[in-house]
Symmetry: C2
Subunit: 328 residues, 2 copies
């Protein structure tokens, strides 16, 4: 029921994944059963009735996460998280209210031992392919040990899922030197330096799109602001091109002729449309999609959830954090 | 002597401003006299010899600001700041090491009473014209009262120099609601709310390019990271276009045909080339330019410094902060 195009695109993506990957995975649709059946009917799709779990309530995009979860126990987000908790599902995929999905996962599935705070990552495009930023989940006022645990969890995800051997990790700051930064980053620098991670030190704002590090670690406050700023860039560019086209007919024709080329060339900027991002540190698998997820994005998110299951990311995080706790 | 194209472009911009605006302002060139004279000679320009102040040392772009100022008392940055302190100049304009310019201005000219911390702003383009962000100066670990003083100083600058009546002020956070944010922004929210400023509450990362507020206030840590991220966007886009052009000859031709149109349409993204940004809160006028400042940018910075002088920005800041202190 979550996202700008729910339930239609979510149901279509779910059914497509069910049909395409049935030798590997199973799909359960959670939401208002009547609405789900309407979408199936309208699109002349068949889907097993016993794989639709009814949820009478819907958490809207603007609701306060913890309030919403408390007040709507029969919402699709709460029920889906419960299915994972009860072992009836192995993963939870949603394009709904990010905060509510994260809160429901954390409260219902529980945190992995040693994880004070789960983290949400974003996989941005970069000159070297991608740049994974943790945390972008708006978990604010992080402590140095939180940043270290983000780094440890992100390393496992990027290594196993994005297939980068020994991924490099940078700490987001205002200068490359060790003594540049705020209190949080200076303390975190020391802590991460002592780990076995491939820590390359501080990186700056310009290093994200450059792809200087495979993984960039930051407090969720700045991660969230950066992500939203980045997402607004294509819209601003469109605004500039529209302004330019309005100047005269000749310019309008030029923009018209080139629009599709530009869209194609700059398509990596629309990264959020193509898949979900992981919530790491909870006792289960949660993949969160952008509100504007298409059915293809939903399908990709389901496949991604399967990969996280198959590569045993949750177990690996448990093991790594247990080792760290023993050492301390 | 500062910036990627020094001394040539700096001297050319300075001489151009001197010739163009001599009914309004006077220009003093501070730097290695021999090198300055060589540039003048090479470009067949005349400039009064007594308006060249010799400085034997140069602070490089990568040097640590406070060390550099201490170790190079005869550098152009230190001498220029001293000229303002001694009343021999009314403003200091530089495209050199930003941290060193800010530190020299603060230490030599001194801070305005009531200003704990000076602030550097950036004027980004936006859908509503521009968005002024304070602080981007990498002054980290700000306290709520620092953010309030940034807002008070920025308001004066944007009103008097960028000519916006009663400019709107947003506080950069992770959600629009008052209770969204980290400890710093929540406390600053209360403080700014109590001021007479046109405070519109929290704004998010996406509101900067959208231009939701005329002024966006944030800690210098995040401001600096955002600014550097923003500056890297055009470079990343160029990378994407180059990749696209490499795919085949047809695509290469399309990109070749459209390159100039795109450059023209997206020119506002290259905002840093067009002028300097103010350091506010010091007892004098300092305008800091981007390292890649052209001679036109230097000329614009000198004109901007004149406007700051003419609109009595320093005096207005003194007056406003004195009133605030009395009230408390």
């Amino acid at each position: 029921m979550g996202g700008d195009f729910a339930p239609e695109k979510v149901v279509l993506g779910g059914v497509e994944a069910f049909n395409k990957f049935q030798n590997r995975l199973d799909v359960i649709l959670v939401g208002k059963k009547g609405e789900i059946q309407s979408v199936l009917l309208k699109n002349q799709l068949s889907f097993p009735d016993d794989k639709i779990v009814n949820a009478t309530e819907v958490i809207e995009m603007g609701e306060m996460p913890t309030d919403a979860i408390r007040n709507k126990p029969d919402s699709s987000i709460v029920i889906a998280a419960r299915l994972v908790k009860e072992g009836k599902a192995q993963a939870f995929v949603s394009a709904g209210n990010t905060g509510a999905v994260a809160a429901a996962s954390t409260l219902i599935m529980g945190r992995i031992e040693g994880v004070d705070r789960p983290t949400i990552g974003a996989i941005l495009p970069s000159e070297s392919g991608f740049c994974a930023i943790f945390d972008v989940g708006a978990f604010v006022d992080a402590k140095p040990q939180h940043l270290l645990s983000y780094a440890l969890m992100a390393e496992i995800y990027v290594r196993e899922i994005l297939k980068v051997d020994n991924p490099s990790i940078g700490l987001l700051s205002v200068g490359e030197e060790k003594d540049k930064g705020n209190k949080l980053t200076k303390d975190a620098f020391d802590l991460i330096s002592k780990s076995k991670l491939n820590f390359i030190g501080n990186v700056e704002g310009r290093d994200i799109l450059k792809g200087t590090a495979n993984i960039v670690i930051c407090d969720g406050f700045i991660g969230n602001i950066l992500l939203k700023f980045g997402e607004s860039v294509p819209k601003y560019m469109k605004h500039l091109l529209t302004l330019y086209a309005k100047e005269n007919l000749f310019k309008k024709i030029k923009i018209g002729l080139f629009k599709n080329t530009l869209k194609e060339a700059l398509s990596p900027l629309d990264y959020q449309k193509y898949g979900g991002v992981p919530l790491l540190g909870v006792n289960g698998i949660t993949i969160i999609g952008h509100g504007s997820s298409t059915s293809l994005a939903i399908e990709n998110m389901i496949l991604r959830a399967y990969e996280v299951y198959e590569r045993k990311i949750t177990e690996r995080i448990k093991k790594t954090l247990a080792q760290i706790s023993v050492k301390e």
